[in-house]
């Protein structure tokens, strides 16, 4: 009963947290030999196939790195599923989109100001990181309802940049 759903990239597994038994996509328990090598570093052997896995578990997001590909891991309890559904409904009612910083950097130029009308794909601001200038474009047409950043200010990754309505 107390199974938690694990979303690993586009795959879905379930985990019985009390026993630690993992069920694969086919519903059968996974016969895995798991060895911890160092913090977050694992060797897993399943039916003779060997995997070298790195995990980083965070409060916000957990990921696994395998062969330098990074996969998101989401752990979802029943309660999480309900709140997710509610949040999703709230989001679609309100037709605004908030664009977040895709990388940390310095805002070098605002091409549009708050209140400006923008077309889909139009540049809104320029963010500079590692000596490259990157134009952040409007993901949809609308009005810039709010500009969260100013020129010469730095933004962290995922900081809110602007909202289009």
């Amino acid at each position: 009963m107390s199974r938690t759903t694990l979303h690993i990239a586009e795959r879905t597994l379930s985990l019985e947290e009390t026993t630690g038994i993992l069920y694969g996509e086919d519903g059968a328990p996974v016969p895995a030999d798991v060895r911890r090598i160092s913090a977050g570093e694992y060797s897993v052997i399943i039916q003779g196939r060997s995997y070298h896995i790195f995990l980083s578990l965070g409060a916000m997001q957990s990921t696994a790195t395998v062969n330098n590909f990074i996969f998101p891991i989401e752990r979802e309890t029943l309660r999480d599923q309900l709140t997710q559904r509610l949040k999703k409904e709230a989001r679609t009612e309100n037709g605004s989109v908030t664009v977040r910083a895709p990388m940390p950097g310095l805002i070098t130029k605002l091409l549009k100001q708050e209140g400006a009308v923008v077309q889909h794909g139009e540049g809104v601001l320029v963010i500079e990181a590692m000596k490259m200038e990157n134009e952040i474009k409007a993901p949809k047409s609308g009005t810039i309802k709010r500009m969260f950043v100013a020129e010469r200010r730095t933004a962290e990754k995922n900081d809110q940049l602007f909202t289009i309505e």
């Binding site: 694969g24 570093e41 694992y42 196939r49 696994a64 134009e135």
Partner: protein, 497 residues
């Protein structure tokens, strides 16, 4: 010219190239001096070099680009030479001049040569006069927008806006129509002024689907100039090279000879001394056009080293000491094939955006024919302050086929955790039929929109899930008594003795 033995080199750089320079110098019995910014206090170049001095500061401008600080440290520590590496001040004549004025040896060409060739426009001017084919466009920086419009429409769109004072794709913009020109110039100027503190730009015809082929040149103070064949660097994204190979599959011995001869002529025309690279575009009809000279050691120099068995940094130091080249053109022998994959801390699945963070695990590839030049270690912090390239993986094989197979193996073996890297992207390149055929050009990446597909099969997902379950179990153990620190048997025994 009189010989001036070098006993201690200050390396005015950071990252993998600082480590690389240390290695050759150290093998020659020369002491090495590292300099470092605050975030680089425990970087590998600081750990490797014999001496290390702080530059006090964080940004490039207040550290690795501060000529005054670098010269002061060099004099105070008793260095007799400075190696600039690539990037930073390596192509700044002003820096070379300051080094020489301080009575030290600059390991690179003379400041006057850097002035002429480092400015792409004066290099174009010089070579146009020498009848060496250049890409059509201006031979002077453009003054204003009106002039830019006139030039662009006379050579025909698409055109390229390029920084007169730099390279590496910074300050470079493709322009397809007159409407885009103004914005592109502005953006290019901003980038160029930040990257090279020089906002001059010029305009070149955009050559459709060329290959990027460059020739390595070595020139000593005794008038000897030789070339070490070509490198093909057509796998580029955002005008930055990612995978390079030596030799190029497109270059026949006759073409190599023609391009090599042109490169040697360029060096001679400019009175060039030390190692330099002449970059060319090669079109589909095997016409080559001079692009620019890089008056420094190139990032991708190791592939030439592996194929020709010559240590280019060592030659640079020997040349700077006034020694003759250790080989002549006739003794330059090509052997096998080498490939380099540049490993950047970038989001391979999201437009190569910088990926910052801490490298929590770093385990480079090993084994036959593999060379790894790196500037990071486990625990390194990747910040937004410096270039995101963290390592260069280089392989050598007897044939191209063997080198390709070896690179695939080595990329798969390379383990980096904590930041996203371009390793999955490089793997895609190595498996791509057009790369394998060798018919790719500089639009290869854009044309095929190579986004690595990180699809998981059911068993891989199960393996991750199993590790995740184990890690959560470890994390959930919060015993009332503290867990004894994982003491090594050595320590335990020591306590009881």
């Amino acid at each position: 010219m009189k010989r001036k033995p070098i006993t201690k080199i200050l390396i005015a750089n950071r990252g993998e190239i600082a480590v690389r320079i240390h290695r050759s110098a150290s093998e020659m019995g020369i002491r090495t001096v590292a300099v470092y910014s605050d975030p680089d206090r425990t970087a590998p170049h600081v750990l490797f070099c014999d001496e290390a001095y702080p530059l006090h500061g964080t940004t490039s401008a207040e550290t690795y680009l501060d000529i005054g600080k670098l010269i002061r440290i060099a004099k105070e520590c008793g260095a007799d030479a400075v190696h600039p590496g690539y990037g930073f001040l390596s192509e700044k004549a002003e820096f070379a001049r300051a080094v020489i004025q301080a009575g030290l040896t600059f390991i690179g060409p003379a400041p006057e040569t850097i002035d002429t060739l480092g400015s792409k426009t004066s290099a174009r001017d010089l070579l146009a006069k020498k009848k060496i084919p250049i890409v059509p466009g201006t031979t002077k920086p453009i003054n204003d927008l009106a002039e830019a419009h006139k030039v662009a429409s006379s050579i025909g769109y698409p055109v390229l806006i390029k920084a007169a004072g730099g390279g590496g794709g910074k300050g470079m913009r493709r322009v397809d129509s007159p409407e885009e020109l103004e914005g592109a110039i502005e953006r290019a100027r901003n980038e160029a002024s930040k990257a090279f503190s020089d906002d001059r730009v010029y305009i070149e015809k955009f050559i459709i689907n060329p290959k990027h082929i460059e020739i390595q040149v070595l020139a000593d103070t005794h008038g000897n100039v030789i070339h070490l064949g070509e490198r093909e660097c057509s796998v580029q994204r955002r005008h930055q090279k990612v995978v390079e190979e030596c030799p190029s599959i497109a270059v026949t011995p006759a073409l190599r000879n023609a391009m090599g001869t042109a490169a040697v002529e360029i060096a001679k025309a400019a009175g060039y001394v030390n190692a330099g690279t002449m970059e060319f575009l090669l079109d589909a009809s095997m016409n080559f056009y001079f692009l620019e000279v890089n008056t420094r050691v190139q990032v991708e120099h190791p592939i030439t080293e592996m194929v020709y068995g010559i240590d280019i940094v060592r030659e640079q130091i020997r040349i700077a000491q006034g020694e003759p080249l250790s080989m002549d053109q006739a003794s330059v022998v090509i052997s096998g094939h080498a490939i380099e994959a540049r490993i950047y801390a970038e989001e391979y699945d999201n437009n190569f955006l910088p990926s910052t963070g801490t490298i929590t695990h770093y385990q480079p590839s090993e084994g036959p024919g593999v060379r790894n030049d790196s500037g990071v270690r486990t625990g390194s912090e990747i910040t937004m302050y410096y270039d995101p390239m963290i390592a260069k993986l280089v392989v050598h094989g007897r044939t191209r086929e063997e080198a390709v197979a070896r690179m695939k193996r080595a990329l798969r073996e390379y383990k980096i955790n904590g930041v996203k890297t371009t390793i999955p992207f490089c793997e895609m390149v190595l498996y791509h039929p057009e790369f394998i055929k060798g018919t790719y050009d500089i639009n290869f990446v854009a044309k095929h929109y190579l986004v690595p597909d990180g699809t998981l099969d059911a068993q891989e997902a199960a393996a991750i899930g199993a590790a995740f379950a184990a890690e959560r179990k470890t994390g959930m153990k919060t015993p009332s008594t503290p867990v004894p620190s994982a003491g090594s048997p050595w320590k335990v025994r020591g306590l009881h003795e």
